[in-house]
């Protein structure tokens, strides 16, 4: 696609429920990233996918968080048993190899009530 697409744009969920956030990167971009943006904070790295290599999951805050990338394209970030501290904007980005800069999606605002 022309840009990085994320869905849903906003999600309100009850504490304890599972949620899935979707990211559709730019076609041809081999690298895909998930970041979390909490109120008043910078962006916190969560996970990185590059081609067929094993993902870098070092930023996932707990084992309730997982992500997959199917067919080297679409990625899903899953949060199980959501907690109020999971409330944040979850941003996805994609890029070609190198440091030309990420292209970000518009994010998913997750609110856990």
């Amino acid at each position: 696609g022309a840009g990085v697409s994320q869905s849903p744009s906003n999600k309100v969920t009850e504490k304890g429920k599972d949620v899935e956030l979707r990211c559709d990167p730019i076609s041809g971009h081999t690298a895909l990233y998930w970041y979390r943006q909490s109120l008043g904070q910078g962006l916190e790295f969560l996970i990185y996918f590059q081609g067929n290599s094993a993902p870098d999951k070092s930023g996932l805050p707990s084992d309730r968080f997982s992500a997959e990338r199917t067919g080297g394209s679409v990625s899903t970030l899953t949060i199980q048993r959501t907690q109020q501290e999971d409330s944040a904007v979850y941003l996805c980005a994609s890029s070609l190899i190198g440091a030309g800069g990420y292209t970000f999606g518009s994010g998913t605002r997750l609110t856990v009530v």
Partner: protein, 114 residues
Amino acid sequence: AQTVTQSQPEMSVQEAETVTLSCTYDTSENNYYLFWYKQPPSRQMILVIRQEAYKQQNATENRFSVNFQKAAKSFSLKISDSQLGDTAMYFCAFTPAGTYKYIFGTGTRLKVLA
């Protein structure tokens, strides 16, 4: 640890004036990249400008320019002729060459006043 610091949580500037946003970083790397991203209310992060550490010349993109001081580990963003559409959060980011994780600052909220 590598860190990025933006010491100005909020700033405002009159339309058509010039404003400078500060960013400092801490690293032992010699080769790296620095970025400024803009995040308007739409939430989408937009790349404003990019600087390669091995280039001494400051990057410029239209009304946006940087003052890159490698020895001081400083990377400020100057916005000239500010426009209402420049109102946004601005994030400074750093990544060592050959890596992929970006380290972001906490952002500066800029408001351009009519």
